[in-house]
C-alpha cells in the first residue's frame, strides 16, 4: 500500500499531529515501507481463525459499581498548563 501526500495529511489529522509539509514525503515513504512490510500477513489464510485480543485469552475483570477513588484533583492539577476553578483551560472552541 503506497501512501500519497493526501493520505498522510488525512492520517495526521485523525491523529491530531501537526506535520510540517516539507516532512510529508519522508513520512509517506516510511509509512508506505512499513505497510508493505506488514502485507506479509496476507500470505496466510486466516479464515475461521478467532482474533486474539488478550494474550491469555482472558475477559475483562469486573468490580462492583461503587466509588472507591479519592478526589485528588488539586494534586493532579498542580502540573496542568492552565486551570481555573478546577477546570482545565483551552482556547475557545465555540465563537
Amino acid at each position: 500500500m503506497t501512501l500519497e501526500t493526501a493520505d498522510v495529511e488525512k492520517i495526521a489529522h485523525l491523529a491530531r499531529l501537526a506535520i510540517d509539509p516539507g516532512d510529508i514525503p519522508e513520512y509517506a515513504r516510511n509509512l508506505s515501507a512499513i505497510l508493505a512490510f506488514v502485507e506479509q500477513l496476507n500470505t496466510v489464510d486466516t479464515t475461521g481463525v478467532e482474533p486474539l485480543a488478550h494474550p491469555l485469552d482472558a475477559t475483562q475483570r469486573l468490580r462492583p459499581d461503587m466509588v472507591t477513588e479519592v478526589d485528588e484533583r488539586e494534586i493532579f492539577q498542580q502540573i496542568a498548563p492552565r486551570t481555573e476553578d478546577g477546570l482545565y483551560l483551552v482556547p475557545r472552541v465555540i465563537e
Binding site: 485523525l14 499531529l17 496466510v44 483551552v90
Partner: protein, 484 residues
C-alpha cells in the same frame, strides 16, 4: 562493592559488612564519574536516595529487612515516581512530575529498595536501540560506538556498567530482553499480567510488561518476587499467588525438555551468534537437559502482526497526551485543534509519530478488517504454535537477537530494518509468555544473549534453568573495559 551481585549485597547488608548509605553513596559516585560516557540516566535522585538508604539502615538494624532492603537500583523512566520527573524519554513529558507512584514503584520502595534515579529509554518505549530518546542516545558500555539495545537501554547499560546492581525495565516487543542481550546481562519479561501496569506509562496495553534487569538469574528472581503480584488497580493484572522464585533455583536440570525452533536458526541470524547459542545449548545438555527440535510455522507473522497491533494500541494510548492536562503544550495555540496538533507534533519525536500514524491508519474506517483484525488472527496462530510446542517441551530456547550490538546510527534511518532486531522476542509478547535473556558468549568482544521462553507463569523454571547455567559458566561475570 559494585562488583557484588544483588544477592551478595543483600547478605553483606544483613551481616553489617557495610551500610545501605555507604552502598548508595558508592553507586551515586560511580554514576557521577561514569555516566557521562553512557548517558544511561535522565534523572539522579541523590538526596532522596540517601534518605531512603538511611531509613533502610534503620530497618536492617531492627531486623525488619527483606532481600531488597537497602539495595540501590534504578527505575526505567516509564514508571511514575511521585514528585519525580517521569519523562518516558520524551519532550512531551519533559516537564512531567508524576503526581502518583506506579505500583511497581510503590512495591520496591515498600520493600526498602533505594531508587537512585530514572534511566534513559527510547521515547515512549518505541525502539530497539535507545536512539529515539529526547535526551540523546545511550552508549553500550562494551563499546561506546554501539547501541545498548532498547527500549530499556539505560536500564541495561547502567547494570552492565555496574552503576547499579539492578534496574526495572518494560518489554512490549523485546525491550528488556534485547538490551539485556546486547549489554551482557540478565533480563526477564514476566508473563502478561504478572506485574502490575498501574503507573507504568502505557505503550501497547495488551503487550506491555514490567520486569527486572540484573546480572544474575538469582538477582532477577529477588527483584521479580517484589515486583510481581495481583493489583486491583490494573484491570489486566492476574489474581494468582506469587511464587517464591528463589526456592527452586538450584534444582537439577535432569530431564528438562528444551525445544529449539528451526525457524529461530534460519536466515538473518549472524553465524557467530548462532555458534554461541549452539554452544550454550550444549552446556544445557551437559547439565542433563534433552533437546528436541520443534516447529513454530507462524513465526514469520510475528513482526508484521506486532507492527499492526502495537502501533494501533499506541495510537490509542498516546491520545491522552494532548497538551490540556499535563505535559508539553505548544506556545500560543490559535484554537483547540491547533493546541492538540502542535502540542503533539512538537512534543513527540519521529518514531512515535510514525507509529501513531500507522496505528491510526490500521484502525481507521475501511482498514480495520484488513489490518487490525488480520493481525489479531495471526496473533492467535502464533500463540497456538507455542501451546503446541509446550505439549512436547518445558522451555524453548534460541538467540535473543539476530546480531550483537550494532553501530549507533546504523539502522536509525530505516524503520523496518530496526524492527527486525526484535525478530525473536516479539512473538513472546504476542503470546503473553514469560521470556528471559541471559549472557551466553561473545562475538567480536560484544555480548550474545540466549533467550529462554516458558509457559504461562513458569518464571521459576526459567530462572532455575538460567541459574544452573550461570553456576556452570561465567559469561555473566564478565565486566566491560573501564567499568571494573
Amino acid at each position: 562493592m559494585h562488583q557484588k551481585t544483588l544477592a551478595e549485597l543483600s547478605t553483606g547488608l544483613k551481616h553489617g559488612e557495610f551500610s545501605s548509605e555507604e552502598l548508595t553513596r558508592d553507586c551515586l559516585q560511580r554514576v557521577a564519574a561514569r555516566d557521562a560516557q553512557l548517558n544511561s540516566f535522565i534523572t539522579v535522585t541523590g538526596e532522596a536516595a540517601l534518605q531512603a538508604a538511611r531509613a533502610a539502615d534503620t530497618r536492617l538494624l531492627a531486623g525488619d529487612a527483606g532481600p531488597l532492603t537497602g539495595i540501590p537500583f534504578a527505575h526505567k523512566d516509564i514508571f511514575c515516581t511521585r514528585g519525580v520527573k517521569t519523562s518516558c524519554g520524551s519532550r512531551m513529558l519533559d516537564n512531567f512530575l508524576a503526581p502518583y507512584d506506579a505500583t511497581v514503584t510503590y512495591k520496591l520502595a515498600a520493600a526498602g529498595a533505594v531508587m537512585i534515579g530514572k534511566t534513559n529509554m527510547d521515547e515512549f518505549a518505541m525502539g530497539s536501540s535507545n536512539e529515539t530518546s529526547f535526551y540523546g542516545p545511550v552508549k553500550n558500555p562494551w563499546n561506546p560506538e554501539k547501541v545498548p539495545g532498547g527500549s530499556s537501554g539505560g536500564s541495561a547499560a547502567a547494570v552492565a556498567a555496574r552503576l547499579v546492581p539492578a534496574s526495572t525495565g518494560t518489554d512490549t516487543g523485546g525491550s528488556i530482553r534485547q538490551p539485556a542481550a546486547l549489554c551482557g546481562i540478565t533480563g526477564l519479561k514476566p508473563t502478561y499480567g504478572r506485574v502490575s501496569r498501574y503507573g507504568m506509562i502505557a505503550f501497547a496495553s495488551s503487550l506491555d510488561q514490567g520486569g527486572p534487569l540484573a546480572r544474575t538469574a538469582e538477582d532477577a528472581a529477588l527483584m521479580l518476587g517484589v515486583m510481581a503480584g495481583f493489583d486491583p488497580r490494573d484491570s489486566t493484572s492476574v489474581d494468582r499467588p506469587v511464587d517464591d522464585y528463589t526456592a527452586r533455583l538450584n534444582a537439577p536440570l535432569d530431564g528438562l525438555r528444551i525445544g529449539l525452533p528451526e525457524e529461530y536458526f534460519g536466515a538473518g541470524l549472524d553465524s557467530g551468534v548462532g555458534a554461541a547459542i549452539e554452544a550454550a545449548v550444549g552446556e544445557f545438555t551437559s547439565l542433563g537437559a534433552r533437546i528436541t527440535r520443534v516447529s513454530m510455522p507462524n513465526s514469520h507473522l510475528a513482526v508484521p502482526a506486532y507492527y499492526v497491533v502495537a502501533p494501533a494500541e499506541c495510537s490509542s494510548n498516546l491520545s491522552r497526551m494532548d497538551g490540556v492536562r499535563f505535559g508539553y503544550r505548544a506556545q500560543d495555540p490559535g484554537d483547540l485543534e491547533d493546541l492538540y496538533k502542535r502540542s503533539r507534533g512538537e512534543g513527540f519525536g519521529e518514531e512515535v509519530k510514525r507509529r501513531i500514524m500507522i496505528g491510526t491508519y490500521a484502525l481507521s474506517a475501511g482498514y480495520y478488517d484488513a489490518y487490525y483484525l488480520k493481525a489479531q488472527q495471526a496473533r492467535r496462530l502464533i500463540r497456538e504454535d507455542f501451546l503446541r510446542a509446550f505439549t512436547e517441551v518445558d522451555v524453548i530456547m534460541g538467540p535473543t537477537a539476530p546480531t550483537v550490538a550494532f553501530r549507533l546510527g546504523e539502522k536509525a534511518d530505516d524503520p523496518v530494518t530496526m524492527y527486525l532486531s526484535d525478530i525473536y522476542t516479539i512473538a513472546v509478547n504476542l503470546a503473553g509468555l514469560p521470556g528471559l535473556s541471559i549472557p551466553a558468549g561473545f562475538v567480536d568482544g560484544l555480548p550474545v544473549g540466549l533467550q529462554i521462553i516458558g509457559n504461562y507463569f513458569d518464571e521459576a523454571r526459567l530462572l532455575n534453568a538460567a541459574h544452573r547455567f550461570q553456576q556452570a559458566t561465567d559469561w555473566h561475570t564478565r565486566i566491560p573495559n573501564g567499568f571494573a
